[in-house]
Amino acid sequence: MNRALLLSCALAVSSAAFGDQPQVHVEPPHLQGPLTLAQQTETAAIRDYLESWKSLQTAFDQNQAALLDADFVGTAHDKLTSAIDEQAKLGIHTRYQDRAHNVQIVFYSPDGLSIQLLDTVDYDAQILKGGAVLTSQHVRRRYVVVLTPTQVRWAVRIFQEEPQ
């Protein structure tokens, strides 16, 4: 409980600089597997994951896939890049605004090379064409996310949304 509160506070402070901030709640890890997760690692992974939402939002809103490069790798990077390219060809863009995250780390691989987390996200999504909003919807979905370490941070390798 204390650990969850501590993490929530730490993440709230670290993300306060972004302005329109989502509420973030972090559940204590519920790990399968033999490896224990250091709190520093947990905090860093969740911080980097939440930051990846910022680059995702900007990349999809501006149709600039290159903005994903710092936060996404592998499959997640390829899929998101492809989606941005497709929407750019259609002359549309999408706007995602995350409102709340409920994050829990559920797997830390024995080799220490991947962390899996689940995140129930409340967000608003829009499709826009030019300046016109074509549709605007509020969504609550579960994200299954796998992060892997890069030289300086945890990057999102799998980023998959599914019904709750």
């Binding site: 549309i92 829009q126 074509l134 799998i158």
Partner: protein, 292 residues
């Protein structure tokens, strides 16, 4: 701030959509679609329109004659996720909705990480393997699935474990075998398999036994073949240290194992004590009495 204005504009779009619904323009969207499967979205109304479908995984469009279905062929929409759909007539949205694309349940690809690639024999839980299971389109299959892990060691022994995935992931640990050589580590889920090779190398020397023979003014000191605790020959190049103590003076010679044994020439000093060690293992000690 920008987001706030934008989402107010979204509310205005919604008002326009409600007017369209009143005019009999709508669409019926399936709640859930399996990744890569064919499906259609039925529309009502008349006249041409464009259907946009967009999510973090894909974005596509269809030109639609309202009143007819918009069809998506097999493979057209294959990335799992939540998708917004909006039907646009002219430049105005006339109907919208959303739906989920979920992974197919047939495993087609495994991401299999095995570690380490090289380790000593006889190490309990020394080998770890973790797997993520994907469908044919690279979507993580998050429904529970059994994954079989099998480690075939050079001795012919096979260790097997079956682990059920949680949120698409499964992991296990295995012991390295008793015999040196390449071990095959196989993960399998459904028809998808992935193999990694783990090189098992001999462990540290288990015992050291040396013998001494006079050789002119020198002593020829040689170990018996150096083996680990499972009987595997310790690799050439492993360092063995010979120490001679004589009259309070100690001298040590480090020698690499060659062809399974370590050998060195040391001064033949009556009353000297010679000992042998490698790593943390100490061997026997011999006191040289001048050949008597």
């Amino acid at each position: 701030m920008r987001g706030g204005i934008s989402f107010v504009l979204g509310a205005l779009a919604l008002a326009a959509l409600q007017a369209s619904v009143a005019a009999g323009e709508s669409m019926t969207i399936p709640k859930q679609v399996t990744a890569g499967s064919a499906f259609s979205i039925q529309t009502t109304g008349s006249g041409p329109a464009v259907l946009y479908v967009a999510g973090p995984g894909q974005a596509l469009s269809r030109n639609v004659q309202m009143g007819e279905p918009a069809s998506f062929a097999s493979g057209a929409l294959h990335q799992a996720g939540h998708y917004l759909a909006v039907l646009v007539k002219g430049s105005s949205p006339v109907a919208d909705g959303s739906f989920d694309v979920v992974p197919a349940n047939q495993p087609a690809k495994l991401s299999f990480l095995a570690k380490p690639s090289r380790l000593p024999v006889g190490l309990r839980n020394g080998i770890s393997g973790s797997v993520y299971v994907f469908d044919a389109y690279g979507n993580l299959i998050t429904t529970p699935l059994p994954v079989s892990f099998a480690l075939s060691t050079p001795s012919g022994a096979v260790q097997k474990r079956v682990v059920t995935t949680q949120n698409g992931a499964a992991s296990t640990q295995m012991d390295s075998g008793a015999k040196e050589g390449a071990a095959k580590f196989i993960a399998q889920a459904g028809a998808a398999t992935s193999t990694r090779v783990i090189e098992q190398v001999p462990g540290d020397p288990c015992t050291l036994q040396m013998s001494v023979q006079p050789s002119g003014q020198q002593l020829s000191v040689q170990t018996a073949p150096v083996r680990d605790c499972s009987g595997n020959a310790v690799p050439d190049g492993t360092i063995v240290s010979f120490t001679e103590k004589y009259n309070g003076i100690q001298s040590t010679v480090d020698v690499p194992i060659k062809r399974g044994v370590a050998q060195v020439e040391m001064p033949a000093r009556p009353g000297a004590t010679i000992s042998v060690a490698s790593g943390v293992v100490a061997g026997n000690e011999i006191r040289w009495e001048g050949g008597r």
